[in-house]
C-alpha cells in the first residue's frame, strides 16, 4: 500500500488532488458523476463581495493544447455562496473545502474572507490576487510585491483559517512576490493562475473572446507551471500548491518533485469531467512505477 496522504497547514488530505477554482463550480455538476469525497479537497468558484455576471460572451477560445477563458469571475456573491451554495455542497461533500476569493479592493477581500472564515465547511482560504480577466484592479495586486503583501496583511488581521495566496504567472519575478506574501503572514502559496493570452480568428480577423484577452490554461502551460513552482519552493518555507496544465498522475509526481505539497487540476476537468477521479485512481500505480511509497517523501525532491 502506498501512502498518498499530504498535509496542508494542519489538515490532512487523503491525496494531493484538488480541482482548481473555476473548473469545478461548487461541486454539484461533478457530484452527479462520481463521489467527490474521494478528492483531497476542491477549490470552489472564485467568490467576490458582490454578485458578478462576468464578461460578455464569447468567453472561451480553443488553443493548441489549451484554452483561453475570460469568464470574468461570474459568481453569486459571498452572501449567496454562504446561504445557498455551502448548504447544497454539504449534501455531497463532507471534507473541508477550499474557499477561493477575489476582490477589486483590499476592503472587498477583507469583507469576503472575514465572512468565509467563519464557515465551518471552509478549511482554507485561497485568495486569488492574479485573475487577469478584470480590467480594474485584480491584476495589480498580484503583480506588485508591496500590493500583494498589503492584501495578505489585511486578510490575516481578520481571519484564523490558513491563507493560501494564488499567484499570477504574468510577472517578472514570481519568487519575490511569494516571499512578500510569506513575510506578510501567508500560510501557503498557490500557483500558477492562467497566463494572459489571445486567440485571433483567421476568418473574421478578430479576437475570438469578446474581452480580446483571456487566461490561457491547459496542458500547454505545464512546463511553465513546474518551473515557477520550483522557483517559489526555493524561495519560501510555507507549503506550495502547484497547478497549471496538470492532466495525469505523472504530472502530479512531477509537480511535487518541483516542490508542490498538493496539486490542483484545472482545465483538464472541463475536457474530461472524470479527470480528478482518474488521476487519483492512477496515482498508486505511478507511485509504484517510480518506487515511491510515501508521497510526502518526494515534495521538492528535484532540488
Amino acid at each position: 500500500m502506498v501512502d498518498t496522504k499530504v498535509n496542508l497547514s494542519g489538515i490532512t488530505l487523503d491525496n494531493p488532488i484538488i480541482p482548481a477554482s473555476g473548473t469545478f463550480g461548487f461541486g454539484y455538476e461533478f457530484a452527479e458523476l462520481y463521489d467527490i469525497n474521494m478528492l483531497g479537497t476542491f477549490s470552489f468558484k472564485g467568490t467576490t463581495k458582490d454578485a458578478r455576471f462576468g464578461n460578455p460572451t464569447p468567453r472561451i477560445a480553443e488553443c493548441r493544447e489549451g484554452m483561453i477563458n475570460s469568464v470574468g469571475l461570474q459568481n453569486p456573491g459571498v452572501h449567496k455562496v454562504i446561504e445557498e451554495e455551502l448548504p447544497k455542497l454539504k449534501q455531497c461533500f463532507s471534507k473541508p473545502v477550499m474557499a477561493n476569493v477575489s476582490g477589486f479592493s483590499i476592503d472587498e477581500y477583507v469583507y469576503t474572507c472575514e465572512l468565509l472564515d467563519k464557515e465551518p465547511q471552509v478549511g482554507w482560504l485561497e485568495v486569488n490576487i492574479s485573475c487577469p480577466n478584470v480590467h480594474n484592479g485584480g491584476m495589480a495586486f498580484g503583480t506588485s510585491a508591496d500590493n500583494a503583501a498589503q492584501v495578505v496583511k489585511a486578510i490575516k488581521a481578520v481571519t484564523k483559517k490558513p491563507l493560501y495566496v494564488k499567484l499570477s504567472p504574468n510577472v517578472t519575478d514570481i519568487a519575490s512576490i511569494a516571499v512578500a506574501c510569506e513575510e506578510a503572514g501567508a500560510d501557503g502559496i498557490s500557483l500558477i493562475n492562467t497566463l494572459l493570452g489571445m486567440k485571433i480568428d483567421l476568418k473574421t480577423k478578430r479576437c475570438v473572446v469578446a474581452n480580446k484577452m483571456g487566461g490561457f490554461s491547459g496542458r500547454a502551460i505545464f512546463p511553465v507551471a513546474v518551473r515557477m513552482v520550483y522557483q517559489v519552493y526555493e524561495a519560501v518555507k510555507i507549503p506550495v500548491i502547484g497547478m497549471g496544465g496538470v492532466a495525469t498522475a505523472e504530472d502530479v509526481i512531477e509537480m511535487m518533485l518541483a516542490g508542490a505539497t498538493a496539486v490542483e487540476v484545472g482545465a483538464e476537468n472541463l475536457v474530461n469531467p472524470y479527470a480528478c477521479r482518474d488521476i487519483i485512481n492512477d496515482l498508486p500505480r505511478v507511485m509504484k512505477k517510480y518506487g515511491i511509497n510515501k508521497l510526502t517523501d518526494i515534495i521538492g525532491g528535484a532540488h
Binding site: 473555476g22 473548473t23 469545478f24 463550480g25 455538476e29 461533478f30 452527479e32 458523476l33 468558484k45 455576471f53 462576468g54 460572451t57 464569447p58 468567453r59 472561451i60 477560445a61 480553443e62 488553443c63 493548441r64 493544447e65 489549451g66 484554452m67 477563458n69 469568464v71 461570474q74 475570438v208 491547459g218 496542458r219 482545465a267 476537468n269 472541463l270 475536457v271 474530461n272 469531467p273 472524470y274
Partner: protein, 243 residues
C-alpha cells in the same frame, strides 16, 4: 450525462459541407430532443458540441456542418472509429406545452434537432408542421426524412430555387399554430421574434468550454436570471429571452 466511447457506424456527406454521422453506444442519458453531445477529437483541446438529430436505444445520429478545424476532422472520420463523447447534455425541448399543432422552424444547420423533436411530438399524438430554411437548393438536406413523418413540411430558399422564395418567416406568417420551436442563426431568431404569435422555445448556440455546466463559459442573461447555455439551455422559452 454519459461519458463513453461511441463507435462510428456511418459518416455520410449530405451536401457540399453538411455530414450525417451515426454513432453506436449508450443512449440512455438522452432524455429530450434538442440535447447535444460533446465530442473529443484528435489533437484538439476542447470538445466539439453537436446537437442530436435522432436517437434510438443503441444509436444516435448527428448532422453537422464543416465550419472549422474540429468539424473538418469529423468529416474525414471513417466507420469503425471510436469517439470519446459526453452524451445527453443540455435541457432539450419541452414538448408538454406544445398544444396539438405546433410549428417547428429550422434554419440551415439549426434544422437537425427539429427532427428528433418532430418524432417526439408525433409519438405524443400531435401534428407538427415544419418549416425548413435554406439559402439555395444545393444546401437542402433532411427534407425527405421530415416528409416521411410529417404531412406539412415547408421549404424556403433565399434565392427561390426551391419552395417559397425568402425566409422561414414568409411561411410562418401565414400558418396557424399552437406553439413554436426553433433552432437556427441569430438573424432568423430576430425575424421569428418579430413575426411569431404566442409562446415558443428557441435553441441557442454559444462557444462552450466544458458543455456540462462547470466553467461558466457560455452564460447569458435572461429575465429569469443568469443561465448557462450548455446546462440550463440550450433551449430557452420566449418569455425569458432578453433580445
Amino acid at each position: 450525462m454519459t461519458s463513453a466511447y461511441y463507435t462510428v457506424i456511418s459518416n455520410e456527406k449530405l451536401t457540399e459541407n453538411v455530414y450525417k454521422m451515426v454513432l453506436g453506444g449508450d443512449t440512455s442519458s438522452i432524455t429530450a430532443p434538442g440535447q447535444f453531445i460533446n465530442i473529443k477529437l484528435e489533437g484538439l483541446f476542447l470538445r466539439r458540441p453537436i446537437s442530436i438529430y435522432d436517437w434510438d436505444d443503441k444509436t444516435l445520429t448527428i448532422i453537422y456542418k464543416v465550419v472549422g478545424e474540429g468539424t473538418e476532422q469529423m468529416a474525414g472520420i471513417k466507420a469503425g472509429v471510436s469517439l470519446d463523447c459526453l452524451v445527453g447534455l443540455g435541457n432539450g425541448f419541452d414538448t408538454s406545452v406544445s398544444g396539438e399543432r405546433p410549428v417547428l422552424i429550422g434554419g440551415g444547420v439549426g434544422i437537425p434537432p427539429m427532427y428528433g423533436l418532430a418524432k417526439k411530438l408525433i409519438a405524443e399524438g400531435k401534428k407538427p408542421q415544419v418549416i425548413l430554411g435554406f439559402n439555395k437548393e444545393s444546401e437542402i438536406f433532411a427534407y425527405n426524412e421530415f416528409c416521411a413523418i410529417c404531412e406539412d413540411v415547408y421549404v424556403t430558399t433565399v434565392d427561390g430555387s426551391v419552395g417559397t422564395c425568402g425566409f422561414v418567416t414568409d411561411v410562418l406568417k401565414n400558418l396557424d399554430y399552437t406553439y413554436f420551436y426553433t433552432c437556427g442563426p441569430m438573424p432568423m431568431f430576430r425575424a421569428i421574434e418579430a413575426t411569431a404569435l404566442g409562446s415558443g422555445q428557441f435553441s441557442f448556440e454559444e462557444r462552450m468550454g466544458c458543455g456540462f455546466g462547470a466553467c461558466m463559459g457560455c452564460t447569458c442573461k435572461t429575465k429569469y436570471g443568469n443561465k448557462r447555455i450548455c446546462k440550463d439551455g440550450p433551449v430557452l422559452v420566449r418569455e425569458e429571452i432578453i433580445w
